[in-house]
Every structure is written in C-alpha cells, then in structure tokens.
C-alpha cells in the first residue's frame, strides 16, 4: 500500500446543498465526481493522507480581510463562512504541524472577491485565501506569504486585497485578460505605490498547455519565489485552465497540474474555479493531492488525454519565452507609473462591476503616504444599491500619528457614510460603526 512521504491534510467540503442557481456552473455536484474518484482510489487509505472537516469562519475572521457593506450577513452566507473555514482549517493543520501540507478542496470559491464586498462577482463573495492569510497572521508570527494563483481567470480579487501589502507576493497565471473574464491581469498591474513588484501578473495566450505553464513556473515563478523568500507558499488552485473546461480556452492537463505542484511545493492549496466537473476535476484534484503528498502520480491522466493534440504552437512558446523575461523584470525591476496624489495621500478612483449580482460600485481610495510606517487607508464606496460607506484600514506597523488619524476618520460623525467599518490590524480591532 502507498505511504505519503509528505503528510497531507485534505479538507474536502463539496457543499452538496448549495448552488448559485440550478444550472449555474457553481452548483451542488461540482465535486461529486471528484469524491467518487477519491473514494475509488482509496486516497484516504494512503498512510499520511487524511480527511478533515472545515471550520466555520466567524465575523472577526471575515472582517480581518474584507470591508463588507452594509453588513456581513448581507454579502456572506453560511456556505461562504464554511468554505473560508475550510481554508482556515487547512492553515491550522499546517501551523499546528498536524500535517506538513494541506489542501482545502472547498466551494464556493473566492479569488474574485475584492477588499470591499457588496455582493458576488465571478462566483465569489468572500476571498477565502485572504481570510486564511489574515487568520495565519493573527495566529502566528508569519507575515511574508506568497500566493500563486493558477486559476484560469485573473485573481483580481486577491490582487486587490493585497495591492498595497509589501509582505504578500501575489502571482497570477491566467488566460490573457483580452480573451477572458475579468479582463484584467496585465503585466503593468504591478502593485500599489508602496508595494511595487509585489503583484505579478502572467497573462498567458489561449491554448497554453503543460509545456508553457511549466516553463513559466520554472523560469519566472520559482526564481521570483526564491528571491522573495516567503514563510509560506499558497496555491490558489483553480482548475479551469484544463483543456476540457467549458468556459475557458487553455490546454493544461492533470499531469501538468501535478507537476506544477511538485515544483511549487505549496504549503497550502485552495481550490478556486474549475467547471469541467466530470472530465477534469476528478483527475486534476487527484494529481494535486498525490503531488502535494509526494506520491507517484504518473498514472493520473484523463481518459481522453492526448498530449500531441494539446501542444502549443512554436509561436506560442516563443511568446511565452519572451513573457518569462518580462515577468522577472516585473519583480526585480518594477517600473511604476507615477501614482496620483492629493496632499499626503495616494488616491485611486474606480468602478467595480459585480457580474453575478449586477451591482456597480463606485470607489475612492486614499492611502496615507507616511515615512514612518505603511500608513493607513480610507475607502469610500457606494453602489447602485447602497449609500456611501467608509472602510478604514490601519496597518500592523502604523505609527501613532497614522493611528490617531485613522481612528478619527472612523469615529467622525460628520462624515456622510451610511456605515463605517474599522480594520485595525495594529490593535486587532475589527468592527462597524453605524451612523443614524
């Protein structure tokens, strides 16, 4: 019988009683065939691979990562709490040393959920990786974390959450935004003014297959990780880059995905998208599990796997070759356009569209440019469905001046915000202030 050289905890939570809608890709049986495959393989009979149940994310867990308006309940259901709780359980297993690695095979996904949440975008409400990362920071001395997002769609939510955080390296490998939702994730999106080069986007051409993906990992991702020296590596393991996925155009395979995880050696993997529930997920998930546990995965392949039909054209490979160089530059020599400034504040104004819930959000973000600390930020946000709200985030190393300014902004009763939420990482104070 098999023994896992690296112990692996799997939080398998298929949420068989939850769907966005009856025929939506994000529906009840998404992980059904994966579970059948796991059972038939006897995955949990492998010595060193064990199954765990998820925790439930509490209010504080969510408020550490998100500004939820008008309330947590309005944007987050039990399913999201348990999915995020699955990611938290994965982190807990690794932090406590119960298992060396962990894989949160949970749904619904989260990587399109941004810092501010008004509803569902791209099938996501709560960013389960971000909730997990902030849980890790609150429960250990770990700060420096790398998230490698291999979902086929740009992880715009995770990018947004960590845009200004120099201690989180976010790398997204995805199908070029000119050809796929959400239409972002270009090379020049390279991190906020105080976190240059900490956001790395790798937009891959359609039909990229195993060779191209693994080339990018070996020639761009791994050298960057080596330089960043994270205390922990997380893989946002979306599986919609598979050649059989119905809503994307890539050619990645179970073998490729397993090899990717063997190279990346993530401490934690978290399932994101992936909607080829019969033809891809059972094999890709099995490949990831075996690779993370250090087991032989050579016989894991899709029944219709034909690598010769999936190969990239020479042009595509040449393009990817060039891309690898540009990606390395994005980390080692980031070129930042001058940021817009008002006084001591960097200012960003934008609109965010929530496709699933059809909400348009208008946002104005001010980041204090402080010489003594990372500063603080104020996000004024309103949407097509609610009046202006205010989010105040105070970073863990904020200086006393920034701290008092941020608190003053939060308690200001003369502001025009309907709801204000404080995210004080320094004092670990996470709460709402409601104005009448």
């Amino acid at each position: 019988m098999l023994t896992a050289p690296t112990s692996l905890g799997i939080i398998f939570f298929p949420a068989y009683d939850w769907a966005i809608s009856p025929t939506h890709p994000e529906r009840e049986e998404r992980l059904l065939y994966t579970q059948d495959q796991f059972r038939e393989e006897g995955l949990f009979d492998i010595d060193g691979i064990n199954e765990y149940r998820p925790l439930r994310a509490e209010d504080t867990d969510i408020l550490r990562a998100h500004f939820c308006f008008p309330t947590i309940e309005a944007v987050c259901t039990e399913s999201h709490r348990i999915s995020a709780g699955g990611a938290i359980r994965a982190a807990q297993l690794v932090l406590k040393g119960e298992t060396q690695r962990a894989f949160a095979l949970v749904r619904p996904p989260g990587h399109h959920a941004m810092k501010v949440v008004h509803g569902n975008r791209g099938f996501c409400n709560i960013n389960i990786e971000a909730v997990m990362v902030e849980w890790i920071r609150a429960h250990s001395g770990i700060r420096r974390i790398a998230i490698v997002d291999t979902d086929c769609h740009h992880g715009d939510g995770t990018q947004d959450v960590y845009w200004h955080d120099p201690d989180v390296l976010f790398i997204s490998l995805h199908q070029d935004g000119r050809t796929l939702y959400p239409g972002s994730g270009f090379l020049h999106e390279n991190g906020g003014p105080k976190a240059a080069g900490r956001t790395i986007n790798i937009p891959l051409p359609p039909q990229t297959a195993d060779t191209g993906y693994l080339k990018v990992v070996e020639e761009a991702v791994l050298p960057i990780l080596e330089a960043f020296k994270p205390e922990m590596v997380i893989n946002s393991a979306g599986q919609d880059n598979h050649y059989s996925d119905p809503i994307t155009n890539m050619h990645f395979s179970a073998q490729g995905y397993a090899r990717l995880n063997e190279l990346l050696k993530p401490d934690i993997a978290v399932l994101e998208g992936g909607y080829s529930i019969k033809s891809a997920l059972p094999y890709v998930n099995l490949g990831i599990c075996l690779a993370m546990a250090g087991c032989d995965y050579s016989a894991v392949r899709e029944p219709d796997y034909a690598p010769s039909r999936l190969r990239e054209t020479p042009d595509t490979l040449a393009y990817i070759d060039e891309l690898c160089g540009q990606v390395r530059d994005a980390y080692f020599h980031p070129e930042m356009p001058p940021a817009k400034k008002e006084g001591h504040f960097f200012v960003r104004e934008r609109r965010v569209y929530y496709d699933t819930d059809n909400i348009i959000e208008k946002q104005r973000e001010k980041l204090k440019d402080c010489n003594n600390c990372q500063g603080y930020r104020l996000i004024q946000t309103e949407s097509s469905s609610i009046l202006p709200c205010l989010g105040v985030e105070l970073f863990h190393d904020s200086c006393p001046v920034c701290e008092s300014e941020a608190h003053a902004a939060f308690t200001d009763k003369h502001g025009n915000s309907l709801v204000a939420q404080l995210m004080d990482h320094k004092n670990r104070d996470y709460r709402y202030r409601n104005q009448n």
């Binding site: 019988m1 098999l2 398998f12 939570f13 298929p14 949420a15 068989y16 009683d17 939850w18 009856p22 025929t23 529906r27 009840e28 049986e29 059904l32 065939y33 579970q35 059948d36 495959q37 059972r39 038939e40 393989e41 006897g42 995955l43 009979d45 199954e51 765990y52 149940r53 998820p54 439930r56 039990e78 399913s79 348990i82 119905p246 179970a254 019969k278 059972p282 094999y283 099995l286 075996l290 087991c295 032989d296 050579s298 016989a299 894991v300 392949r301 899709e302 029944p303 219709d304 796997y305």
Partner: protein, 574 residues
Amino acid sequence: MQSTQNSKHGMRIGIDIGGTHSDGVLIDGTRLVAAAKARTRHDDLLASINLLLTHLLAGQNANWVQCINLSSTLTTNAIITGLVAPVGVLVSGGPGIAVENYRIGSQFHHIPGSLSHVGEETSPIDMDALDAALATCQADGINHFAVIGKFSPRNPEHELQMAEPARPTAQVLCCGHQLSGRLNLGRRINSTYFNAAVWDIARSFAAALKDSLHAFGLQHAEMNILKADGGTLPLARALEAPVQSILSGPAASVMGVLATMPLQEDVVLLDIGGTTTDIALFAGGQPLLEREGIAIAGRPTLVRALRVASIGIGGDSYIHVEADGVHCGPERLGPCMAAGGDAPALMDAFNVLGRAKFGDVALSEKGMATLAAQQGIDAKELAQSALSAAATAIETALRGLIDEVNSKPVYTIHEILEERRIEPRQLVLIGGPAEVFQPLLQEKTDMETLCPQLASVTNAIGAALCRSTSALVLHADTSRGWLYAPTLEVSKRIDRNFTLEDAVTEAKDLLKTDMAEAGIKLADADMQVTQADSFNMVERGYTMGKNIRVSVQVKPAVLGSTKPSSAVEVVHAK
C-alpha cells in the same frame, strides 16, 4: 422486528470461538438455559464446538433449537497465518493511482482496460494481456481467481469480461462487485482476494460442521455465521462471501453487552483484558460502525465492522521506567508477577496499592519493590505512577476515538449546522480486570463508570441474540435511464421521471427481497437509509437528468434482552 420463518420453538445457540477460550450458550426466548466454556483447540475448532454442544444440549431437546449462531476465528486465523489457497488476482485499473500499488498475492496481474467514474468504458479490456495472465496462473497451478475492476460498482462489465475466460479452469471465482457496492479499489482488491483465499477453508469446515450438527440432531436448525458488524449471515450466504466472517470476536462481546444490559444513551464500552483494552462506542444505544471497513493482516477491506479501537493496556501490561517517567504497556511480557510472571505488570501495581487482591500479592510486592529500589523510589509511588500512566493511556485513546467520530467529514452545510455530536457520560467496563480498573477510571474520566456483573459467556450471549444484517448500495442515472445495485447484480431500466423517493423504495424492496430469499423477513423499521442523494446532471447549461445514490442497511441489533441468571452455571468443558 426481524423474525425467522421457522419459529415454532425459540431456542438459540450462540458459540464464540475466541483466541484462548470458546464459549457457548443455549437461550430459550431470552432466558439463558445453559452455558459452557472450553479451551479453544486451534488445530481442531470443530472439536471445541462439539464439546460445547455436548454440554449445552445435555438434557435438552435438540429439535427445539431454532438457530445456531457461530463466531469463529477460522477465516481470521487462516488469513493471519497465511494458510490460504493461492489466488490469481486480475485487476483492470485505469487512470489514477497505479494498480501495482495494490499488489497482493503471488499472482497479481494488471489487465489494461478502464471505466470512468460514471462507469463508461474509456478503454476496452486487453484480451491478449488477459490470456497471458491466465496462462501464467495456469502454469502455476492456480484455480482460484479474484477479478476486480476499477469502478465496478458503477458497471460490472469489465469484471464479467475478465471472469469469462477464467471460468473453465476456475474452481473458485470471485468478482469484486458481488462483495460490496461501495467505491474503493484497493479495499475491493483485498476483500475479493481474501474471499477467494479462504473459500475452501470455509466450505470444508461448513461440511464437517453440518455432519456434526446432524449427529447432535440439529439438522433442522438454521446455521448463521457472525460478522464483524455485529450481525449474522445465513450459512449458505456466508459460503458465498466467507471473507464476511473475519474478525467477528469483538462484535460478539459488544453485542453481548447490548443483550445483557439496557443502553439508551451515548456510552463508551471498555473491554479490558490481559494484553489489550478494546474501546467501542454506542450512540443512543446503537453501536457505531467503521466508515469503510475493517483491516486484516495490515490490509484494509470493505468488510463492514463495528468500530472498535484497541490499545495495549491490560492487567498484564508490563511496567517500565524510562527517562521521561513510568510507563505501562503497550507490551505484555507474560502474566503479571502475582500470577507467576517474571516482570511487574499493571495488576501487580493494583495489588501493591491494595486496590486488588489478585493471585499471590506477596509476589507483586516483591517485584514492584525490586523495580522501585532500582529507581530509588517507593514501591507504592511506582505503583501509583504506573496506574496513572495506564489511566492516561486509556483516557487519551477514548477521547481520541470520540473526537475522531465527532470530526468525521460531512459534505453539506446542513450537516455542519445541525450535527449531533456524541457525548458519552457513561463508561461501561467489562473483562477480567474491569472491577479493579473502575475507581481509577472513574477518577480519571469524570464519567459515570459502570461495571455490570456480566456472565463470563456474555460474548456467546451476544452471538446467540444477533440478528442478520445486510447492506445495499443503489446507483441510478436517469439520463442513461438505468439503475444498478452491484452486490445483487440487479440492473434495470428506469424512466426520466424516476425520483429519489422511487430509488429509496426500490433499494428497500431489493434488500427485503434478498433477505427473504435467505429466509429472513424484514420490517421497514429494520432498515435504515444511510445515504439518499440526488444530483442534477447539467451539461452545457441543460439539465440532462439525475444522478441518484442510495444506501440502505439493516443495522446491528439484538433480538432481546437476556438477564444472566445465577441459576445457570457455566460448565467448564474438558
């Protein structure tokens, strides 16, 4: 309540062949009539059975015996000692973990060919490879075969295709889908292999047993074989699935407790012996089953079993002092010193502290004093530390088991929010040293500890009063328009409107009919639905049909409650 067809007279015999002792009881209705104990003769189990029957039936009318339930070590010992028939194992794998990892036996052959997780053929069976494998088996003189296909509970076709050419030379041929409807290729391979390997042993024993029963005038009685899940299987069925009879010993004890004392709550049962303590859990008075199945000879199987955890703490666990303190067990070096052993054991510690008066207390005191002197401590202090180490080990194990059961994975939001946790407040202690352990565990666990005065033949009472158990898995796919129950080899067409309720009814009917064929009448209340799921199958945004999974079981239970009467003396047969 489940009943049997021939119930003119209600006498039942229960026999439990254990590692050292064999116990037997004769029960009339729920009244204990006779009890006997004999040493187990491993070289001749039948002799032990005959000896017990002679005593049980003395002065009784054998015609009144309605059934005989037997728990024996026959198949277990054959597997553990490796004295089994050589088996040719033919496995079709497919994408996933490489089949080679499941290798078992000397003739293990991977036959290319595969089915997907929904049971569709993704590549055909390689008939040339199959012929070559069979030729190799033939050259080796093999005529027992185990045929296993990946995903055969979804579709038995590949197993049947592989079995076909083996048939002419096969004396024994077992297919995986006949043994269990549950998914798990590795366990299916092990189960099917063991089933073929012990087939002959079970048959020849049954034949000899039948002759023997005839000689006792018991030819009209139903013969049932006990299983590890605390239920029985009619002999004819047991001969088709002899692997089901492995490791039934702990189940006999657990069911015996259930038959002799009322248990309604969440309860922990500790069966304390000389070498080990077995821990079992009851939820609302019902014994808990293993999630997947029991393991034997280090190999996990799909054989259903009561969940029993075993730890190396018992009266003879030897006491040793290490750098980090006093330890007790898990090894046993021999009997305790009070019983003539060479090294101080847990029972000696009880003796030294005046908590027990077992055997020769002076020998315990001498041994403990010697070990204590080596460590420069007082004998009583050493004894106290040993007891506390043993109590901690037991408590840790039982908490671990409770946690494990309570943290079993669930797959719906509803289950997470509405789950019922098992929170035992009662600890029932049985076994030889139970009474001695009682105050110790009472202090340690904060649970109410009971030490019922059970007959030394409780396990045989359990065997006698077990009822038949069974399980059935049904899978229906309305888009393909068919339904399949692998173990019964039932497949039939269904229409697009087939519902989950229809599937549950169908599964119950199939199980009921099958049990009736074996002579057992089931009421609806005897059956328990353990899974009933229906999923929409959506392709390209359209609902194509439903994927339905139903599991039904007859849960383990006892047929009545027996009060062991002091009027019945346990005869020690020689």
